[in-house]
Symmetry: C2
Subunit: 310 residues, 2 copies
DNA sequence: GAAAGGTACGCAAACGATTGCCTGTCCGGA
DNA sequence: TCCGGACAGGCAATCGTTTGCGTACCTTTC
């Protein structure tokens, strides 16, 4: 047993011939070492939990994939845990993850509103959804940066009357971005930010409201691609031309929306896969006991310029 | 150790007082039994792999969630494995899953084209994406049934000139549904099924093509909600009223598309979560050595009637 | 030819649970 | 008083690895 273990793991001092023989025999018999037993000795499981407070959705997926990529480097598998926003369910899942002795946890959620810290004694990295505990390791998106990116772009192409249509005011995301839009646009912001919902329907209605109240604007900075798409549709229906009369921007770079829009949508990509990747790397560092170079990483968004502004 | 084990698991013969004492102490110390060690003895890991041949996407999510629900009943956790359609990656992931001694595998993919069977010696259930091996346990969607559902609905509301706009002909999904549309619609099918792409853009273009070639139709049966949405947009732009002049149906019941469409889209829901749930249940039966009541389950689609047809 | 030194391999403990079996204690009955 | 039986709980083997240490054998050198 000992010799086989050493041969397969390249440890100990064995003749090359012996190693080869063991490896070939293992191959022939289809033997693969049992990761549990190995983990039992090593004091690790080479497994982490991916805990999402909301259901899995469009935002979770790229993060999950990025994390999986980064963790696979450390031979780590990902166990899913979806709390469905239910506290009892979360407790139950955490218990299950603890019994499985996961090496660490990536915690995420649909909104960027902060969540209460978890009471666990293993490394935790927050991805996308921040923790109330500011000192907890986290990889976050730059909400304000996304807003800045699109507004500066609109200003750069000469727009001076910008309308801001965004999601519900109760979401931190909407508030932070609206504040940044106000700051960067300054005089160029037309009226007040219009808070509503993260839906196409709100985009449609917001344009109706804006036109009805006689606002004049040459750009709409929408809080999401879905809102932007509603905005684009209604502008077209009202006979306004995009981008000639009105330029439109979104946030998310959700291909289904941004590419199907007519014209295709200029938008801020939040680089969710990158957030996932960095989270995975950070957790890997923590699990393997390395010092973190930074506790808190903010992934800068990226501007994707398409036909709706140029 | 033995006594504690018996107390916590409710086995052996112990005084009730002893059990209570052990449980309370465990609670106080935050002790949770190590699932690995338990599995080592039990010969199981209470863990299954979720292997998706394509990346995770919109189709995978509901299936995954359904499966997670069903499996959580058996205290089973799900390990993700995303092959990204790369054979080498698949082999590597399978090796990792084998070394983790997962109790079983759920295999799925984005398309309903059949895939080659896996060479593994644990229970496998195919979900959504069938296997080439017809005898393999599987939970599938009823492609033809979805087509029948919408066509029968269109016939029932009195439409007699139905246009069929669908995805690429190389996808089994398009072919099977087109065949069923032809069979059920009979005389009522206008021209040939129009194969294209699973995109809004194709929906737009297909209507242009149909109108240009002088086809007359009072209904469009689209192969997906995305196509249907393109169809709806272009019909409106061409001055045709939906559903008065033309009724439109989709397939998928993808809320983002179906609810944002104007009018909201009548569509066939493939009940993906149900497919996931049934797959999970089936795998649980296999893992726990129970006889399967049926090797092959077909989940019937459900018609969701909305404004685009009534 | 014998001792010294080095290399390759085997042995056994340990990781953290479960479980069958054995033992000790207590009770009741003869 | 002694024995039998029932019940509670402790002991140790087991699952499949890793790893440090001991040992056998081979080589080299005087």
């Amino acid at each position: 047993m000992g010799t086989v273990s050493k041969a397969l793991n390249g440890t100990g001092s064995l003749r090359e011939e012996t190693r080869r023989h063991v490896r070939e025999t293992a191959e022939r018999l289809g033997f693969v070492a049992d990761a549990r037993a190995r983990g039992l000795v090593a004091g690790r499981t080479y497994t982490v939990g991916f805990l999402t407070t909301d259901s899995f959705g469009r935002f979770m997926l790229p993060i999950l994939m990025g994390a999986e990529d980064a963790l696979s480097v450390g031979q780590i598998a990902v166990i899913l845990a979806d709390t469905r926003d239910d506290h009892a369910r979360e407790q139950h899942l955490l218990r299950s993850l603890r019994s499985r002795r996961v090496d660490g946890l990536i915690v995420t959620g649909r909104t960027t509103d902060a969540r209460d810290p978890l009471d666990v004694d293993i490394p935790v990295v927050h991805a996308f959804a921040p923790s109330n505990d500011d000192s907890a390791p986290a990889v976050l998106t730059d909400e304000a940066g996304a807003a800045r990116l699109v507004v500066e772009h609109l200003l750069a192409i000469g727009r001076r009357r910008i309308l801001h249509v965004t999601g519900p005011e109760r979401h931190r995301s909407s508030r932070v971005r609206a504040e940044e839009v106000r700051r960067v646009a300054g005089e160029a912001l037309v009226g007040e930010p219009m808070f509503g919902a993260w839906s196409e329907e709100w985009g449609l209605r917001a344009i109706d409201l804006a036109l009805a109240s006689g606002l004049e604007f040459d750009a709409v900075c929408a809080g999401s691609d879905q809102i932007a798409r509603g905005v684009l549709d209604r502008l077209r229906e009202r006979g306004l031309s995009v981008p000639a009369d009105v330029a439109v921007t979104g946030v998310d770079n959700w291909d289904v929306m941004a590419l199907a829009a007519r014209p295709a949508l200029t938008t801020a990509d939040l680089c969710l896969a990158e957030i996932g990747r960095r989270s995975g790397e950070m957790l890997l560092d923590l699990v393997e006991g390395r010092e973190l170079s930074e506790q808190r990483v903010v992934v800068p968004p990226r501007l994707e310029v398409r036909g709706s502004t140029v």
